[in-house]
C-alpha cells in the first residue's frame, strides 16, 4: 500500500539525476516561497542539512533550508545532520502533515537518525505549514496545472488510502 507504484518508480529509477533534481528543486523553491512561516518555526535549524531517503527509490534528497539548496544523489547516503528513511509516499505525506510522524515512527515504518532536535523542528514546522503538494505541482505545470494537480491528488489518495480518510 505504501510503496511507490511500479509505473512511477521505474521512470524515476532510470531518469537522469539532473532531471529529477531539476523537478525536485522547482517544487522545493515553490514550497519555500509559498510558506515563509516555515523558516520562522525552524529557527536555527534552518541551517541544518536534512537528508530524505525513500526506501523505494535508489535516491537521496539532501536539503539545506537556509541556503535553499536541494541535491539529489544515488548510492551511499550523503553526509547530513539528520536523516529520515521511509517509503516515498509516506515521506511526502509527512511533508504535507497528512500522516502523524510519531505514529509512523512507533510502527517502525519510518526511521530517523542523526540530530533529533533538527528533525523535530522540521517536523513541527512542516506540520504547521499546510503544504499541499498536488497544488504546488500544479502551479509548476502552468497551463497543464489542472491535469497535473488532479493526477497527483489521485495518486496520493490511492497511496494513503486508509491513513488519511478521517484526517481530511
Amino acid at each position: 500500500m505504501q510503496s511507490l507504484p511500479l509505473f512511477l518508480a521505474k521512470p524515476v529509477d532510470v531518469a537522469p539525476l539532473w532531471l529529477v533534481e531539476r523537478v525536485a528543486r522547482l517544487i522545493f523553491s515553490g514550497v519555500l516561497k509559498a510558506h515563509p512561516d516555515l523558516f520562522e518555526r525552524l529557527g536555527t535549524y534552518r541551517q541544518a542539512r536534512y537528508c530524505f531517503s525513500p526506501t523505494d527509490l535508489p535516491l537521496h534528497f539532501t536539503v539545506v533550508p537556509a541556503a535553499q539548496t536541494l541535491a539529489v544523489s544515488r548510492g551511499q547516503p550523503p553526509q547530513a545532520d539528520a536523516r529520515v528513511e521511509g517509503p516515498l509516499l509516506l515521506l511526502l505525506g509527512l511533508l504535507e502533515g497528512r500522516c502523524d510522524a510519531d505514529a509512523l515512527f512507533f510502527s517502525r515504518e519510518l526511521s530517523v537518525t542523526g540530530d533529533m532536535e533538527a528533525m523535530l523542528a522540521l517536523r513541527n514546522a512542516l506540520d504547521d505549514s499546510a503544504i499541499d503538494l498536488p497544488r504546488e505541482l500544479g502551479r509548476l505545470a502552468g497551463p497543464l496545472s489542472f491535469l497535473v494537480a488532479g493526477t497527483a491528488r489521485f495518486i496520493r489518495s490511492k497511496a494513503l488510502e486508509g491513513r488519511d480518510t478521517t484526517w481530511n
Partner: protein, 325 residues
C-alpha cells in the same frame, strides 16, 4: 464534560477547533511551558490570532505556563502571564506557587487552573490551592483511581479535569527529575522531558537502540513497535532480569471509563499531545467527541482505531485502574 484539546501549532489549533474541542490548550515558544520542543508552540501574534478564531467559534483557549520559574529568570514567566491575559486567554494553567500568587494578585478575575505538574493529589492539597490562589480548576495527577476521583470531587469546591487520552506519565507529574538526571535539562525548569537534543537512535545489527544522554533506554527487535526514549518507559536490568521496570511503551486511554468519570463529577477530559501533529489532534479530538455521546459498543470501535496512533500501539487505563499499581 468538556473536551480539552492540545495544540502545538496554529494549524493543530484550527484542527482541534474544527474537530469539536470545547477548549484548546497551548503554550508560548519558550521555557514557560512543559512542551518546549523545537519548532513547536505559539508566538504572541499566533496566540492572538488563535484566541480570536476560538472566540468566533465559541471555543475557549487555555494557556499553559506550567513549568517552574527558574530563580533569576522569573521575568520570562511573569511576562508570559501578562501577555496570555492580555491576549484573551480564558484560563491560565499554572504549576508554580510563585507564579500562581502573581496571577491571583494581579489578575483576580482571571481563571486560574492548576496544572497536573503541581501534583495536587488529594482534597487537602486542592483546598490549599483554592484558599491560597483562588484556583477554579485542578488537573489531577495520573496517580488516582476512578474511585479516588469520585471521593475527591465530593470533598472540594473546585472543578476537576482529568487526562483521558495520550502520553502517560508513570511518575507523579512535576515531581520527576529522571530526565534531568540523565541530560541536565529539567522538565520542571526547561519544559522538556527526554529532550530531542539528547536522543539518539542507533541501528545495532537488526536492532534499533534508543539512547538518552549517555544511557541506553531501549532496544527494539526487527518490526517491534517502538517508543520515545522516555526514561520511565525504557527497558532496564533489575536484579539480572531485563524488562520494562516502570511501564511499557503505552499510552493512556480511559475511553472505557467515560461514564464512570462523568458520574464521579469530573468537569473536563483532557487529551495529551501538544507535541503530536495536527493529523493526530484532528483524529483523536473527533474520536473522543464522538465517544462522549456513544454507546459502549460504538466506543469499542473508536478505541481500536485510536490505538494505532499510540506509543507502542497499545494503551492502558494506567492508575485509573487500581490493579495498575
Amino acid at each position: 464534560m468538556e473536551l480539552i484539546c492540545p495544540a502545538g501549532t496554529p494549524a493543530a489549533f484550527r484542527e482541534a477547533v474544527e474537530a469539536g474541542a470545547d477548549a484548546v490548550y497551548c503554550g508560548f515558544r519558550d521555557e514557560t511551558n512543559a512542551r518546549n520542543f523545537p519548532g513547536l508552540n505559539f508566538s504572541r501574534e499566533e496566540l492572538r490570532q488563535s484566541t480570536a478564531l476560538a472566540q468566533r467559534k465559541g471555543v475557549q483557549t487555555f494557556v499553559a505556563l506550567n513549568t517552574f520559574m527558574r530563580a533569576g529568570d522569573e521575568a520570562l514567566w511573569y511576562s508570559a502571564a501578562d501577555d496570555a491575559v492580555a491576549l484573551g486567554a480564558d484560563a491560565l494553567i499554572l504549576a508554580d506557587f510563585g507564579l500562581m500568587a502573581y496571577v491571583a494578585e494581579k489578575y483576580p478575575q482571571q481563571r486560574l487552573h492548576v496544572s497536573v505538574q503541581a501534583s495536587a493529589s488529594n482534597a487537602d492539597a486542592i483546598r490549599f490551592l483554592v484558599e491560597a490562589f483562588g484556583a477554579r480548576r485542578v488537573v489531577l495527577p495520573r496517580v488516582l483511581t476512578v474511585q479516588d476521583i469520585a471521593r475527591l470531587t465530593r470533598q472540594i469546591d473546585c472543578e476537576v479535569e482529568v487526562f483521558a487520552f495520550g502520553g502517560l506519565c508513570v511518575m507523579a507529574e512535576g515531581r520527576c527529575s529522571l530526565s534531568s538526571y540523565a541530560t541536565g535539562k529539567s522538565p520542571n525548569m526547561n519544559g522538556v522531558c527526554s529532550p530531542a537534543s539528547h536522543v539518539r537512535y542507533r541501528q545495532d545489527g537488526a536492532d534499533l537502540v534508543s539512547e538518552l544522554g549517555a544511557y541506553t533506554i531501549n532496544r527494539f527487535g526487527p518490526g517491534e513497535a517502538s517508543g520515545y526514549p522516555t526514561l520511565c518507559k525504557g527497558r532496564f536490568d533489575v536484579g539480572g532480569v531485563e524488562g520494562y521496570a516502570f511501564e511499557d511503551p503505552v499510552s493512556l486511554d480511559v475511553i472505557d471509563e467515560i461514564d464512570a468519570l462523568r458520574a464521579a463529577g469530573v468537569s473536563a477530559l483532557k487529551i495529551e499531545g501538544r507535541q503530536r501533529g495536527k493529523a493526530y489532534v484532528a483524529e483523536v479530538v473527533s474520536s473522543l467527541k464522538k465517544a462522549l455521546d456513544a454507546t459502549p459498543a460504538e466506543r469499542a470501535v473508536l478505541v481500536a482505531r485510536l490505538r494505532t496512533m499510540s506509543e507502542g500501539q497499545r494503551t492502558t487505563a494506567g492508575a485509573y485502574d487500581k490493579r495498575w499499581r
